[in-house]
């Protein structure tokens, strides 16, 4: 059998009860080639320090819980492999642009509020009774929004977006992508209500088309494109609202 390989993992620790500020701590972790960075972190918790705090669940890039900055890049730690970093040291930090709650856990309450604000559910164009039957949708109409349904709320895009870091009130890429998903749904009639958020000072125009959000998205949602399409929509709403009998946002 070959010799046991050891990787150095530097974790940015933060214990709010005792630390004034986050501090790095290095652990030497034995690993095998099939181990993810998440498993490396789990190894640290199980063998070196049980107080190390992080979120995880599915281990297969679908739950969206285990995002962290790995060598400064927002990634799902379950689909980043230690072997790809070895023999260099891996640096791990809580997702960027969010307040650190403890160690690798961030405060997501701001994100949840933004998600609620964009009303991520179908607001029926014309409510139908059960007797009237289902809402019909063609494959072409389905294709309009399917890409944006893939979002798993992992918030890597928020960690990638400097505008979120500079203005924490910015609704941000992920929530905007979901806003777009519902706006694009042929069954939905909530565009005007959501426009109030998109066109607001916390809305789409905070984006400066850095594009890194779409780059790091593990589900190829392309949230950056959703935000930018809505700049055009909000621009039309701004200039045409006086002509439109329905009116736009207030």
């Amino acid at each position: 059998m070959s010799e046991q390989k050891i990787i150095e993992i530097e974790v940015l620790r933060y214990l709010p009860e005792s630390d004034q500020a986050p501090r790095p701590e290095v652990y030497k972790v034995p690993f095998t080639d099939d181990m993810s960075v998440l498993q490396g972190v789990q190894y640290i918790k199980d063998n070196f320090d049980g107080s190390l705090t992080f979120r995880w669940s599915c281990r297969m890039a679908i739950c969206g819980s285990c995002g962290m900055m790995i060598n400064g890049i927002p990634k799902l730690s379950c689909e980043a492999f230690i072997r790809d970093y070895y023999p260099k040291r891996i640096s791990i930090e809580a997702l960027g642009n969010f307040p650190i709650e403890k160690d690798l856990v961030v405060d997501l309450s701001g994100f949840i509020e933004k998600l609620e604000a964009i009303q991520p559910y179908i607001i029926p164009k014309e409510p139908r009774t059960v007797e009237e039957g289902e809402y019909i949708q063609t494959p072409a109409q389905f294709a309009d929004y399917i890409q944006f349904t893939s979002c798993i709320n992992c918030t890597l895009c928020y960690a990638a977006c400097p505008q979120v870091g500079l203005n924490p009130d910015f609704i941000g890429p992920g929530a905007m992508a979901l806003m777009h998903r519902y706006n694009m749904d042929s069954r939905d009639g909530g565009q005007a209500r959501r426009m109030e958020i998109a066109a607001s000072e916390e809305g789409v125009y905070n984006c400066s088309a850095v594009g890194y959000c779409s780059e790091v998205c593990p589900k190829k949602v392309d949230p950056g494109n959703a935000v930018n399409i809505n700049k055009i929509n909000a621009g039309k709403d701004y200039f045409l609202r006086f002509l439109s009998p329905k009116g736009g946002a207030k």
């Binding site: 986050p22 890049i73 594009g211 494109n225």
Partner: protein
């Protein structure tokens, strides 16, 4: 009592932390050169409005080696603006759907670059036509 004390990290120097951000800041920086060119043109307009002597003075100034070097820098920066402007099109513009199929993003980018080349050649020919 809550022991929560969420720690907010500083954004100082964020653009240096990732090559992606560095490139972003460089292409955003092309705006400085566009400002400069806009001001050069405005100076020219003022000189033109002041009459022939003033205008010829401006033309002379444009011939100085410093001005030529400056305009070579402007050319590189503004060409880089054109390059990145269209490179970002798949991000910044709605998808183009033809017969139910999304146009490939590379094709959109290349169409943009082609448009710049066409605009360049056509403008040059028009200016040549007027001048000759």
């Amino acid at each position: 009592m809550s022991k929560r004390r969420p720690y907010v990290r500083s954004m100082d120097g964020w653009w240096k932390k990732n090559p992606f951000y560095v490139e972003y800041m460089i292409h955003e920086g092309t705006a400085l050169f566009i400002v400069a060119y806009s001001i050069v043109l405005t100076f020219g307009l003022v000189r033109l409005a002041q009459g022939e002597v003033a205008w010829n003075g401006w033309l002379e100034a444009m011939k100085s080696p410093l001005s030529i070097i400056f305009h070579l820098v402007l050319l590189v920066a503004i060409a880089y603006h054109a390059f990145t402007w269209f490179k970002l099109f798949p991000l910044t513009t709605p998808p183009v759907v033809i017969n139910g199929k999304k146009l490939e993003s590379g094709l959109i980018v290349r169409s943009g670059w082609t448009a710049t080349i066409v605009a360049t050649v056509v403008s040059f020919v028009i200016v040549w036509g007027i001048a000759a």
